[in-house]
Amino acid sequence: MEQLFNFNLEKVPNSSEKEALDREKNLKLFLDYGFPSKKDENWKFTDLNFIINKNFKHITNNLDFELEKKVDVIKDFDHNHIVLVNGILKSSNIKFEDEGKVKLEGLTSITDFDYEPNNNLSFLNRALSLGGFNLEIQKNYTCKKPIIIYNYFTSKLDNKIINNSNKIKLNQNSELILIEYNIGEKSKFIKNTFEKVIIDKDAIFKNISIQKKKSNGYFYKHISGSQGHNSSYQNFILTSGLKLNKVEIDMNLEKENSNCFILSSLFLGRGEHQEIKSKINHLTPNCKSYQKIKNVLEEDGVGVYQGKIFVKDIAQKTNAYQLSKALILNDLAEFNAKPELEIYADDVKCSHGSTSGSIDEDAIHYLMTRGIKLSKAKKLLIKGFLNEIFENIPEQNIKTFLENSIEEQIEEI
């Protein structure tokens, strides 16, 4: 059998002897089990080992970060920007913000990136990560404009794996809208990212991730975070167009009155597979979490939602909600859900709902009797179904931009 991967630690730069040893140790741990398969409960619906074996051979770690051409920036609204090439910080322009309020630096060492290894991909990440970025917003500062991260992937990435680790910290009473915008050439690669998010007291962090056009990328992202008193975390996952995407969010609501929102609307087409896996840990009273996942599945697209709400015994007055809805347009498409509740406190309001099915025939009939063609009627209903998520974005210009990008995708059907 051909070798699936050959990872080379020699060319990975190390900041210290300890780091080199750490990398070796983690690589060994990874090699014991390889990529996770469906035997692992967390990967039950996304057999990564199978998917990678099917699509890749001779995977090596990427060491090339040359920007090939100028990145097309979004012109729809004013924003600060950061350019990452293959996951590494290349340039930035935080022109709209006060000096010293937004701290941005490239991360090169993994030693100060502390997270509990929780799966095999974290071992791989610790072994091969070349860093990423470190973003920090100072106390009592509200960013005037959103920051867009242009995540550029070059054309030379075939059969490469990129490993990154990022850190985002919002200090007390700060506010940030961060948009991750993936742009890439047509190369086929794997990206394995670990991100640490810390949101202090009264801070608000909105994170939106979108994909410019169809990509051959296979993405895995693990976000682990903690939230302070009265803080808010909102994550919008709108990355339609990736071959594979699994986003894993592990959020700790550590202090009272904090809230966490995970919202997603995805349109999955041929050969596309996306999974959102969340674990929201309600550790203190009076916290709120809200998850709403909407998928439209065409051709043989596969959508997965594995959400878990954990409520500790002291976390009374918790309000937690999970909703997953899927529109299945083709018999080859598939939607799998596992909305899980683990509750140890009695005075709580926890509920979940999950539906999957086809487009409402009555609604189509209604539109067609009013002279709208079948294909147009379907598109209209799909648009309405996905657009609901954007209602949670108060910034009008961003909302319009997102609506337009969804519309472009729907028009392609």
Binding site: E41, D313, I314, Q316, A326, I328, L329, N330, D331, L332, A333, E334, F335, N336, A337, K338, P339, E340, L341, E342, I343, Y344, A345, D346, D347, V348, K349, C350, S351, H352, G353, S354, T355, S356, G357, S358
Partner: protein
Amino acid sequence: MKKEEFKHQEYKYGFTTDIENIKAPKGLTEETIKFISKIKKEPEWMLNWRLKAFNRLKVLKEPNWQKPKYPKINYQDLYYYSAPKSMKDKPKSLDDVDPKLIETYKKLGIPLNEQKRLSGVAVDAVFDSVSVATTFKEELTKKGIIFCPISEAIQKHPDLVKKYLGSVIPISDHYFATLNSAVFTDGSFVYIPPNTRCPMELSTYFRINASETGQFERTLIIADKGSYVSYLEGCTAPMRDENQLHAANVELVALDDAEIKYSTVQNWYPGDKDGVGGIYNFVTKRGACRGKNSKISWTQVETGSAITWKYPSCILQGDNSVGEFYSIAITNNHQKADTGTKMIHLGKNTKSKIISKGISAGKADNTYRGLVDIGSKAFNSRNYTQCDSLLMGNKCGAHTVPYIKNKNSSSTIEHEATTSKINEDQLFYCNQRGLNQEEAVSLIVNGFCKEVLQQLPMEFAVEAQKLVSISLEGSVG
């Protein structure tokens, strides 16, 4: 009822009956299996079937993914066969049955004797490992209905048993199912001939009496074309300090246009207030809707056992077949329940409905775990799932783990779940009208469970309602 009286009600089935027992040698060996097979006077094919399961068991591992963890069971330290001595030569009529046994059943309130004939329930009572007596045989025989202990069916109706035994739960299924296939001792066998409506509810009562025994019964129900049967199952066990294992297999087969309704009131001994003792109830129940327009409906009230771990499932193979699952699981003190269902849609236009009510009090843990799987050829299928959990106090847990898979664009799955506590306003309202805290809770909980209780046959509904109140005794205030 006064509070004091209520306390005495804790576990009224906790008595033991002094009856001499014949036991198989301790331990899980080929000898034990041969012993069981011999004492049951089984034909050779049955022994081979058991040994095949036993060989399979050697390579299987005990599952460990479930929420309630339990100390390792020493399978070599158990008796796999225990029968009241007087049963060695089977009684010809009720008069021949050991009066002590009859006394036990009287305590249990089983309508075994003639006086209770009016209630119209045909009973097959399984005491430890053997079927004691099956009532109403004549009347059933007239209609061509076979209702007998499975050991008898193996001898008298080998073709039916050969054809259907293990066809829903294969011998290599999972650890406890395979264990049961190897060592099962007795259980009920039901066959309803075509176009027959069983004129009465069929019922089995299971009781574990002897200590250090496991109970491994096997039930097989076949509803032939166009037939209907309603089957009731009840369980009790004496109070003991050690944990006892109960690993049963229940297989249902519904052919074209047939309907099976299977109701369980499970009240095994749950262990004492500190979680000492109690039954490990690891049961595999599965029904196959083989024919077109067939229907299987599971109703369960789970109030007993230290650990309940079971998922009565429906395999909806026939077109237009229907699967239903109604469940109440109540856990108090240190009890743990991990229960739910699997609805596997394979045929066209198949429908399933799941209503699950979990109530958790004391230091208990209650998990709903279920699967709804709509295959790519199950066009126009539908599922509706509702799981509600009620928590009493903040030392218990309520969990919901549904797996939902849809591979079909013309099928619809709806799932909702809620977790809450007893509404303070409702409690206040009841208190105001003179009900004390305990009565009020019992009333509200019964209301919470109503949708499921309604599904139970009359005989069981009254008992189940009482059980619901008793199980929650001492959990409030």
